[in-house]
């Protein structure tokens, strides 16, 4: 059987400050022509390093052993990429193997037109005239679905949307018609609806161009949607490899089963327990927004940007409201406004009985003890110079419940216990904890004063799936125990479904749908909600195929 790439006993080690670190160990892998192979695993499992080895993109500090045999499209010419250097390596890149990066906005050079950037790749591999290269660029842009390519070939990257930028990056990868494309988390930085389009495009790459794809991802839904065969990596080693149906229906290894089990699925929210009390019976709302408007002031001559316009909703005591929307929909802005981090510019927002429109910081400060906030990125939300105990004690000290961090230690220990962290972690520094542990500590800090309202801004989107599952579980447990009201902000419908009593959907700063979780997800009224739901890939290849058809039908009717 011919292969596009044949990885034999690959080992990669890095020289770091902590000494020798093994990133990939004894990896064996083949990719057949026209096959889509997904490599999945948690962060740090070595999946990206494996992919980069195929292009010879590892830094100087890496030591590679084994062989990566890369064949060209016709299969007559084979190179061992590990042995190639300099000019020879450059010849192979782009012609035999190309790469699609995670973040399209940084993968394109902002000072050159996209046409120039595509032509650069063409002209680096042969004597091709400027005019001819440009024609090829126009042609490839048309084929990846950029409308009006004759004109847009002269556009700069900032003139494209995120999804279109990723299309351009894919066009750059396709233009020399390589036999293999390595796509490193190609849809992670994109919204769900855009993700579905890019996945369609990648599938077309294979169908129309016959290109094999190595897909690196942590999203099992994406895997189910696109892959033919799946390789699971864990702690630098290959754990399991199987075709996609087999892997999802009967995973062999324990680790694969845990990984699949932790993926949040839509519709699992139903087992939340007894149905919550009707909304009106829960008493005075904790948060009440009426016709809320939030504007960010523009610079000189630029009109203000209206991030939130005319949004009306309430959060009742003890209720979890899930706020869903794509990037730029204003969901984070609303959360920040409730916490008093972003000023309200119009309408009315009442938080715990305080009107936020035009409130002074000194009047709001005492109210802050009633509000907890969990930030998205656990890596930056702790002061790196303070220990975890000092960080968690901070709200207690600020609001005069304890004299200093030492006096608060017994309460801090209780809190750490409540979030299932060992007491000893209190004397560690934030960087000595993993992402999931840090996010638990962040929860402990937010709950230190037993707030009546907790705002969680994408608390799990920076975490691995298996870790995410545990943090979500903890969140639900704590919510039931402490009974706080919560605003849970997320772009992931399945995550919101697990926790929220009610769900509000935002689109471009406007609230388009709000209602009980089962209603919004079960019978969405707004077409956008319907499309959002259909775009979410589910971790089941058979079901996903049906959903894909449904999404295509939805798109064509719109």
């Amino acid at each position: 059987m011919s292969t596009v790439v044949d990885i034999r006993n690959l080992g990669v080690e890095f020289a770091t400050d902590a000494g020798r670190v093994t990133a990939v160990d004894g990896m064996n892998l083949t990719v057949a022509p026209g096959e889509i192979l997904a490599i999945v695993g948690e962060s740090g499992s070595g999946k990206s390093v494996t992919a980069k080895t195929i292009l010879g993109l590892l830094p100087d500090t890496a030591l590679t052993s084994g062989a990566v045999l890369l064949s060209n499209r016709e299969g007559q010419d084979t190179h061992d990429v590990v042995q190639l250097t300099g000019e020879r390596l450059r010849e192979v890149r782009g012609r035999d193997v190309a790469m699609v990066f995670q973040e399209p906005s940084t993968a394109l050079n902002p000072v050159y037109t996209v046409g120039w950037q595509i032509a650069e790749g063409i002209r680096a591999h042969g004597r091709i005239g400027r005019r001819q290269a440009k024609n090829m660029a126009v042609d490839i842009l048309r084929r990846v679905g950029i409308p009006d390519p004759e004109k847009r070939v002269d556009y700069y990257p900032h003139q494209f949307s995120g999804g279109q930028k990723q299309r351009v990056v894919i066009a750059m990868a396709l233009v020399l018609n390589p036999g293999l494309i390595v796509a490193d988390e190609p849809t992670t930085a994109l919204d769900v609806t855009v993700q579905a389009e890019i996945l369609d495009l990648l599938r077309r790459c294979r169908d129309e161009f016959g290109t094999a794809i190595v897909l690196i991802t942590h999203n099992m839904g994406v895997v189910a949607d696109l892959a033919d065969r799946v390789v699971v990596m864990y702690q630098s080693k290959l754990v399991e490899q199987a075709d996609v149906e087999t892997l999802f229906s009967s995973p062999r290894e324990e680790y694969t089963r845990t990984l699949l089990g932790s993926v949040p699925r839509l519709g699992n929210g139903a087992d939340r327990g007894p149905a919550p009390a009707p909304h009106s019976e829960l008493g005075t709302p904790v948060v009440e927004a009426r016709d809320l408007q939030i504007e960010y002031p523009g610079r000189l001559g630029v009109p203000a940007f209206r991030a939130v316009q005319g949004v009306t909703f309430t959060v009742a005591p003890g209720e979890v409201l899930g706020l869903v929307g794509e990037s730029g929909s204003g969901k984070t802005t609303i959360g920040r406004a409730i916490a008093g981090l972003t000023p309200v510019t119009g309408g009315s927002l009442s938080v715990l009985g305080h009107e936020m429109l035009g409130i002074r910081e000194s009047d709001f400060r005492p109210v802050r003890s009633e509000i907890g906030f969990v930030f998205q990125d656990p890596a930056t939300s702790f002061n790196p110079r303070l220990t975890i105990a000092e960080c968690v004690a901070e709200p207690l000290v600020v609001h005069g419940r304890a004299k200093d961090a030492g006096a608060a230690r017994s309460r801090v220990d209780e809190l750490l216990e409540a979030v299932h962290l060992p007491k000893a972690f209190g004397s560690r520094f934030p960087h000595e904890l993993s992402g999931g542990q840090r996010q638990r500590a962040s929860l402990a800090r937010a709950l230190a004063l037993e707030p009546t309202l907790l705002i969680a801004d994408e608390p799990t989107s920076a975490l691995d799936v298996s870790v995410q599952a545990r943090v979500l579980e903890l969140f639900r447990e704590l919510q039931q125990q402490f009974g706080f009201a919560a605003l849970f902000i997320s772009h992931d419908l399945a995550v919101v479904d697990m926790l929220a009593d009610r769900i509000a959907v935002l689109l471009k700063g406007q609230l388009i749908e709000v209602g009980a979780g089962a209603d919004v997800l079960g019978a969405p009224r707004h077409p956008y909600t319907r499309r959002l739901l259909a775009s979410l890939p589910v971790p089941d290849p058979v079901e996903q195929r049906a959903r894909r058809a449904e999404l295509h039908r939805l798109r064509s009717t719109e």
Partner: protein
């Protein structure tokens, strides 16, 4: 190796001792190869000069303004001999003694200048960066206005303003130090301000705000402690610049009178006429002292900069392991 570090992580991590976390010491432990060589050379050179300054009364055979011993004058421009191992100057002083005493002056100026400017610069940068508004704008304009001045010219002006051009030991050292301070404050101000502006948007500062911490608490506990990372680097680089500025002032005649203290720049100035008549020892020794002290400090500064930055830090290359399967 990998195995060992994995088990070490499971135990409660031991906090490294205070000594090993000090700047320079911490970098020394991390460094390898050429970078380590540069850092060690810099530390040794700088340490030598600091020792000279501290032990000057023991090392120097004569006082810096001493031109005769036991009532017998050294003589002027005498070549190196057993009595004056590096010869004597045109003013009849012992070159070796003046070079040794000169380290004391240089070190005093460096320490005073750096301490003064670091405190003012950091406080101004912190307040300006965190509070913003009109205060920030005014301070930035002032800092920008000081920048384009040639440092030496500014130092001369300050020195005239402070002492009227002539000076005693304390007055001379202070005027030199303060004139250097004026140049350095904007540097610390800028560096700290830009760090503070960056940190202000970090999630942990916002989380402190959400908790309800007071502005002063946020500024000093959360922002300042994280904004001082680059300061050791600027301190070492500024210290070397301070020596050059001091020497420049002395060379131009705005320094300290030879009877008040020994100062290399002044000695160089006096040695200017000697070069034509083949008298090398009066100029070479103070000149070499300036070069070596500045070189030492710069080596420390540059290598600390490279080693603190994980992207520039050199690491031991991995060798192919023999296949030892455990």
């Amino acid at each position: 190796m990998v195995f060992r570090s994995a088990t070490a992580e499971q135990q409660t991590p031991r906090k490294p001792s205070l000594f090993s976390r000090l700047p320079v010491v911490a970098q020394l432990r991390q460094s390898v190869g050429l970078q380590r060589g540069m850092l060690i050379a810099g530390v040794v050179l700088t340490g030598m000069f600091v020792l000279c300054a501290l032990l000057a009364p023991l090392i120097a055979p004569y006082g810096f303004a001493q031109s005769r011993v036991d009532g017998v004058a050294f003589g002027r421009q005498e070549p190196p001999s057993a009595e004056n191992i590096w010869g004597t100057t045109v003013g009849g002083y012992d070159v070796f003694s003046r070079v040794i005493w000169g380290t004391q002056t240089a070190l005093a100026v460096v320490v005073i200048a750096v301490v003064l400017s670091i405190f003012l610069g950091v406080i101004l940068g912190l307040v300006s960066g965190y509070l913003g508004g009109w205060l920030d704008r005014i301070l930035v304009v002032i800092a920008d206005a000081i920048y384009p001045f040639p440092t030496l010219l500014l130092a001369i002006v300050m020195s005239i303003v402070i002492t009227g051009g002539q000076s005693s030991l304390i007055g001379g050292i202070l005027s030199a130090a303060i004139s250097i301070t004026v140049i350095f404050i904007p540097q610390y101000f800028r560096v700290v301000r830009s760090e503070v502006v960056r940190l202000k948007a970090e999630a942990f500062v916002e989380s402190a705000k959400v908790i309800g911490a007071s502005t002063r608490r946020i500024m000093f506990l959360h922002v300042l402690r994280n904004a001082t990372r680059t300061l050791p680097l600027i301190v070492t680089l500024n210290a070397s610049e301070a020596i050059l500025t001091l020497a420049g002032l002395g060379f131009l005649g705005f320094g300290i009178a030879p009877t008040s203290a020994a100062e290399w720049g002044y000695d160089l100035n006096r040695a200017l006429a000697d070069t034509a008549s083949g008298i090398w020892w009066t100029g070479v020794f103070p000149g070499v002292a300036i070069v070596l002290f500045v070189l030492g400090l710069t080596l420390v500064g540059e290598s600390v900069n490279d080693i603190s930055d994980p992207r520039l830090r050199a690491r031991k290359r991995l060798k192919k392991k023999k296949d030892v399967s455990a």
